[in-house]
Symmetry: C2
Subunit: 644 residues, 2 copies
């Protein structure tokens, strides 16, 4: 098989690749809608008309009274006035009608019931004349038989269903939903819910891609997992081609040892492009077999979703005779320098925050493997091919992934992360369905710097002043000068030693780290946890050099926990949540204070008042306490304020 491997990928601009592929597909007839489907009108919501719809009957189909009142021959009423009221007797040319009743023969107008005064049971008086055809809905006022109600290629909305039925049309011809086969391939893939071994990858990509297809109006057909095996994959693609309009192979689209997709498509049909100049998502394959589009989508989840959007979405819409709705965009200020390789269009997921009257965009992790970067993103920033990126403060256009209304109701918290923030986010949304909380984990100092740059409404911070043993205040004074801020406590939390399940070495505290045979794993210099460790060691009189592994550094709580879980270390300092996440034991060693630092200008805004309201509820407090390792004695209390 090795000779079938593509080692070099193309690097074409994606628009050019797409255009060439669509052009090729067009000539093969692969983009035309399939034969129309006939549906009952009331079942056709959201579908696209395949033919124009012409009215079969008029509506109304008779002259109808538009009011409750009296249908009259208008000539009987001429001359009536306040000064000279006119009496009319009920009869052939003056009949009581309700709204919707046919106008009786001989009548041509309706007088509203409010405008008549009955002088006896069968006679009434009026004080003004009725104009011919007043309050009459003439035949065809709404729909005229034979007129076109809607053209072809129109996506049906609720009111359209009314218009069509008013025109007497009981069935409509719609374009069939394009059928899209989604073929997960890869020996390492396992279905969701499987017991996971190292090396297993949960196959959720085709679930995401299928949901995307559904959103666009197509019908996804997900197949079972195919091994990275030439003949198996060939058989799967060949059989899928018989049943669907579009085949999506995920993944094997790159140039690895087991990436056959491109060679296979080439054997069965044509590869138009293998590799486009985008990041992530480069190793995409645009092909065609037997007149049908076949596309190889890369395996990383962000690459997969992105290339699906760029390449498969236009195909589905074309096959629906429709055009994709425009993605809403908004201008935002880049919060920090964002370099990007030249020659490649990079797609960067960003969080947006309305800070003051502008939106600030902050990039989220760029990893192609991080699906949560899509879940958490508010928008996508494209860095064009000729660009080397953006300078901080530049105004850029963001393609929105959440609505601006939602974004503008989002409290942006940047800084050190704590599980209590997750719980706060959840309760916030429960109490205020329009509000959200977004939290970005950049560490305590990063949070204070974000306040300085005007990028957030609030920062989570747990910075110990080694001199005073107090938290945060001296750092705020140093970093933010005399800028008005309020410091509110969220929680006190335990930092502790994470050790293997069952604590086999019987570690009871920091003193045990110097014991023979105990391998420690540390956090990087500058981390709040590292500062805390050094402070406590000094208090306890322990020389850091006597701790084996003191100089081995990791950058997150989770990395430390993972080192312990994998057996590479015996103990590391961190928070209970990280220990719980990897099912480690936890030996509490020191309590620290975790505060929210709030710039004065947001103190009295809903961004903050809503948070404080939620923090005050028993539901929030109980759920945090249930996590363990927390003390809420000062929760919601003001620890410090300056300039406000």
């Amino acid at each position: 098989m090795r000779n079938k491997r593509d080692v070099y990928l193309d690097n074409r601009p994606w628009e050019e690749a797409l255009e060439g592929w669509l052009h090729h597909l067009q000539t093969k007839g692969a983009l035309s809608p399939g034969p129309p489907e006939i549906l009952a009108t009331e079942q056709a919501l959201g579908r696209v008309t395949a033919e124009p719809i012409f009215a079969v009957n008029s509506s109304p189909h008779y002259h109808a009274s538009a009011m409750d009142g009296i249908a009259v021959d208008s000539s009987l009423t001429f001359g009536a006035s306040d000064a000279m009221p006119k009496q009319i007797r009920l009869g052939e040319k003056a009949q009581v009608v309700d709204t919707g009743d046919p106008i009786p023969a001989g009548c041509d107008a309706v007088i509203m019931i409010e405008d008549v005064h009955f002088v006896e049971d069968e006679a009434f008086e009026i004080t003004s004349a009725a104009a011919p055809w007043q309050h009459v809905r003439a035949i065809g006022e709404d729909v005229v038989a034979t007129e076109m109600i809607l053209p072809a290629n129109h996506t049906l909305r609720p009111v359209d269903i009314g218009g069509i039925l008013a025109g007497g049309v009981g069935t409509v011809a719609v374009h069939p939903r394009p059928r899209v086969a989604l073929l997960p391939t890869g020996t390492e893939l396992v279905q969701p819910g499987s017991q996971l071994k190292p090396g297993d990858i949960v196959e959720y990509n085709t679930r995401v891609l299928g949901a995307m297809v559904q959103t666009w109006g197509g019908e996804p057909l997900r197949r079972s997992i195919t091994m990275d095996q030439w003949d198996q994959l060939k058989a799967t693609i060949t059989s899928a081609l018989e049943e669907v309009d579009v085949v999506v192979v995920n993944a094997g689209s790159s140039a690895g040892r087991e990436d056959f997709t491109a060679a296979l498509i080439r054997e069965l049909g044509t590869v138009l492009t293998h590799g486009v100049a985008i990041k992530p998502g480069k190793p995409v394959i645009l092909g065609e077999i037997k007149g049908k589009p076949v596309i190889g989508i890369p395996g990383y989840p962000v690459s997969a979703a992105l290339t699906m959007e760029l390449f498969v979405k236009p195909v589905i819409y074309k096959k629906l005779g429709s055009v994709p709705p425009a993605t809403p965009t908004a201008d935002a200020i880049i919060s920090r320098k964002m370099p990007s390789p030249m020659g490649v269009e990079e797609f960067i997921r960003v969080k947006l925050g309305q800070v003051g009257d502008k939106f600030v965009a902050t990039p989220i992790s760029r990893g192609a493997g991080i699906i949560m970067s899509m879940v958490r993103a508010d928008g996508m920033l494209r860095v064009p091919r000729p660009s080397e990126g953006f300078r901080a403060g530049e105004t850029v256009k963001i393609e929105l992934m959440r609505s601006l209304e939602e974004v503008s109701q989002t409290t942006v918290v940047i800084g050190s992360h704590d599980m209590a923030l997750d719980i706060l986010a959840n309760h916030l949304r429960r109490s205020f369905p329009e509000a959200s909380l977004s939290s970005a984990n950049v560490g305590s100092l990063g949070g204070l710097n974000a306040i300085k740059r005007g990028e957030c409404h609030c920062a989570g911070t747990h910075l110990l002043d080694e001199e005073t043993g107090d938290y945060n205040i001296s750092y705020i004074q140093k970093l933010l000068g005399d800028r008005p801020v309020v410091l509110v406590n969220l929680v006190y939390r335990q930092q502790g030693l994470m050790v293997a399940k069952g604590n086999p070495l019987g570690i009871g505290g920091l003193e045990d780290l110097v014991r023979e045979g105990v391998r420690f794993i540390n956090r990087q210099r500058g981390a709040g946890t590292r500062i805390l460790l050094d402070f406590r060691l000094k208090q306890l009189g322990i020389n850091p050099d006597s701790i084996y592994g003191y100089n081995r550094e990791e950058y997150t709580h989770m990395a430390v926990a993972a080192a312990v879980a994998s057996g590479a270390a015996d103990a590391g300092l961190g928070i209970l949540a990280a220990a719980n996440a990897l099912e480690l034991d936890f030996v509490p060693v020191v309590e620290e204070r975790y505060d929210l630092c709030i710039p004065g200008e947001y103190w009295d805004t809903p961004y903050i008042t809503r948070l404080l309201e939620v923090i005050d509820t028993p539901e929030f407090r109980q759920q945090v306490e249930k996590l363990g390792g927390y003390d809420l004695r000062d929760c919601g209390g003001v620890m410090y304020r300056q300039g406000i």
Copy 2:
């Protein structure tokens, strides 16, 4: 029953009525979501989370290679440089890995395959050191076990499904879709598809309302038609209440002889408001029975859709723990004076056209019974209660019913209407799925005036110059001065006498109108058809006074046709389409020219070039010719141009 009739309705501001109703419902617990539904994650697209979702496992759940390459103990690589390459032998601390493979114990970094040079089968050379953890996806890089993936009250998108499955969560708790009973009531109602008698009204409202409920995330349950009969209606409401969350009664919500809804709700529960200060839609009933919202929706289709949107939509979203997406809006210029009653909030459907760089809003028919006004509308204009309307040229905010992209691709045709325009609209959309044609029927002179005011891209006109026998040109010169325009012919069409089926009086032409016993029905003075009639009568030397009914005037082709169809007249002049619509016979009497008048500034824009391209296709021409009564000998030809 008459004593149960409400004669006077409230006239409350709708926001106040809504707020009072929601508050009442809130205290009854009627707005809380129902008990959560548990769904497989991949089935939950579009549903709203009822609980926060916490990760069960980390992703990756092991340290994984992020690249195809060689996993190494990074310390082995230290010191390698271009000048001093380093050789490494495959073994425990240097192992080939593919993307996604676990990092073997003893290794802590990956070198990309592109960066190694194999010097023999089992040994390779590198020219730079590997940083610890480079190209390694650490445990939890994407999702950390126990972290909150999503909060409650979040509407699930495709990427969310990926995030949830990455966190190992196979099922999610979602809010149940609110169940909404839709009760059509009215003795006059018949199901779509029924043979129609005068007085029958096709029950399509609950189909529209049901589709709206579906769009908002609820589950509509449409019931069969209930007669206007107190006990029947009572039984229907009572039984619906047992099965659903919201009951919608349509209609009987007004104060007519057979409008029982309000009295019934009052008997069974509480009516909070009956009648709000809106137009259309005033007679709405906001009630509550047994802790459930019950609402009476007026019967006219526009009123029904509008009150559903104002009152039922917020209830459904509240029961979903969610907020309705904001309706996109745009600024537009009012094309003509738009008076509106003070004290009432009026909702006016408008067409929008991008004319130059601004959007122009033109009101469509205001009739509450005209569902096509909703189908054709691009947006809704609200005239606030304290306002008496808008002056021409005022800038107003329009709530969009079609996207601005779609609007900006729409060719706006205002003037006299012809069926060929419908066919043009349809073929335009077929050839250019992003384009549409909107046509407003205001008569030929109205069209030229619209050009004068800059409200359209093109006007349909058939104005005969009685002096010269030529069409349109003298009117253009008079009305538009020397403004650059191009006049393009669309069709020649037959005007003729519409007569009863089988032509019982044997009418052969205009000469027969003077015959004893022939009752004519005329068009109003100023109508193109009237001008044409008078011109022909003069040519034929017929004295109008000798025609019985010459002074009976109707305002549209359809009204004339209806008069003939109902037997009130024996003949009227009009176009074949109107005769066809009411199944009348048609005696051609004169051919007239129907042109498109195009202002110079649009002549070379896609608004017009696309039309001309479509007009030129055989498909368009064949379909027009098939209608009958048309001659396309000059179709697409320039009849006249000035200043361009």
